[in-house]
Assembly symmetry: C2
Homo-oligomer: 236 residues x 2
């Protein structure tokens, strides 16, 4: 595939948000003497994410940094699980859990391979520039550039986000590959003229979650980031 | 010094633009059968740079990508040296020389040290995001983030550029260090509330250039990027 650059979704595609955030919730809740099914609270928090983004993209909510959106949706998730006892300072701190996500085991090695190739890599996430910089530094994910929906004050799946990546990197959209585990992200990228690569992450919602159907129409599918690097660089 | 992040000037501070660009001019001119003092042509090209930026910051010229500004000032520099014979395609290609600058010998090692520390590093250059991404990937300069004046459609020394770095990285300006070899860059950064580190680059304008006076008032001076990393991380 003739591409100049690949941009990557981060929450889910490169990182295991579920176990990272559940562990932060369990720590914080434990210190406050609270008990709950923390992975279930995490899932509720994450499920409030997409509707909140859609409200921003549609104009129903003003644009705000992802940390602020995470704070709003955390309040909803805690209320849904009867965890109103969480203090304000603890809630503020929990938003930072999304800055410290653990990478999937293949992600760092796959990125290193791509770093050594002609293919430019960048994040393309709804996380802010500061969040993504901290997360990737801490997790050892070597991207050549950090790009975020924040740079156009919107969120994926707004087509402006995908087009901004092509413009900022100085590549044609058809020579830019969007890499994600979420079919709707890939569909929106294709709608903006980008090429698409699907990496399934069957454990994104935990080992007992129902399997996510693969997207119908992508340019390539890779088993993980190392496999993607192999395909894009034509090497073993 | 208590800082969370350091942002770096690139042309001059981290890279030797003069020998890199002079070599590209010599190659291109040689192929066209032209003869000139290529380092002198390079110096003329570079001297047209700051006045062009100031025209953009003051509103006299509309904002345009740095590649376009470099193309305008290249035409002026070639005319000043009687090199009108350079073809259009060669001129377009020469603008790309600024995407392929060589790093100073200490730059990569100093950045690697900082990468392993708590200090976040980013570019803060008038080069565009695409230019900086290509340049740093090729030169082996590991920054945690790529920031550019392009993100606020302006150029240094516009204070908005320095403030945007603090905002995007999510750090207070007084905990953000601007690193540069140019006193005016540091002065503008200080005016925007940032801390400042000076790294002299006596070879920036070649071995025979007059010495550049050190800035009067900076927070720290380091001999090179390795020395800066040593100071910031408190280690040998």
């Amino acid at each position: 595939m003739d591409i100049d650059a690949a941009v990557f979704d981060v929450f889910g595609t490169m990182t295991d948000w579920r176990s990272s955030v559940a562990s932060a919730l369990a720590d914080s809740g434990g210190q406050a003497g609270l008990h709950a099914d923390w992975p279930a609270v995490t899932d509720t928090w994450r499920r409030r994410y997409r509707p909140a983004l859609i409200k921003v993209v549609s104009g129903e909510l003003p644009w705000m940094p992802l940390d602020d959106l995470h704070r709003l949706t955390l309040d909803e998730a805690l209320a849904a699980h009867g965890l109103e006892a969480f203090g304000e300072a603890d809630r503020d701190a929990l938003v930072g859990a999304w800055h410290r996500l653990h990478a999937w085991p293949d992600a760092a090695a796959g990125l290193e391979r791509l770093h050594g190739s002609h293919v430019i890599t960048a994040t393309l996430s709804n996380g802010g520039v500061g969040l993504l910089t901290r997360l990737t530094k801490r997790a050892g994910l070597r991207f050549d550039c950090i790009l975020s929906a924040e740079l156009v004050a919107s969120y994926k799946p707004d087509p402006r986000v995908y087009r901004s990546a092509a413009e900022l990197l100085g590549v044609e959209p058809r020579r830019l590959l969007m890499v994600a585990c979420h079919p709707d992200d890939l569909e929106a990228a294709a709608g903006a003229g980008l090429r698409t690569a699907y990496i399934p992450r069957p454990l994104e919602w935990g080992p007992e979650a129902d399997p996510v159907p693969a997207p119908a129409d992508v340019d390539l599918t890779a088993t993980d980031v190392i496999d993607l690097a192999r395909i894009l660089t034509g090497t073993d």
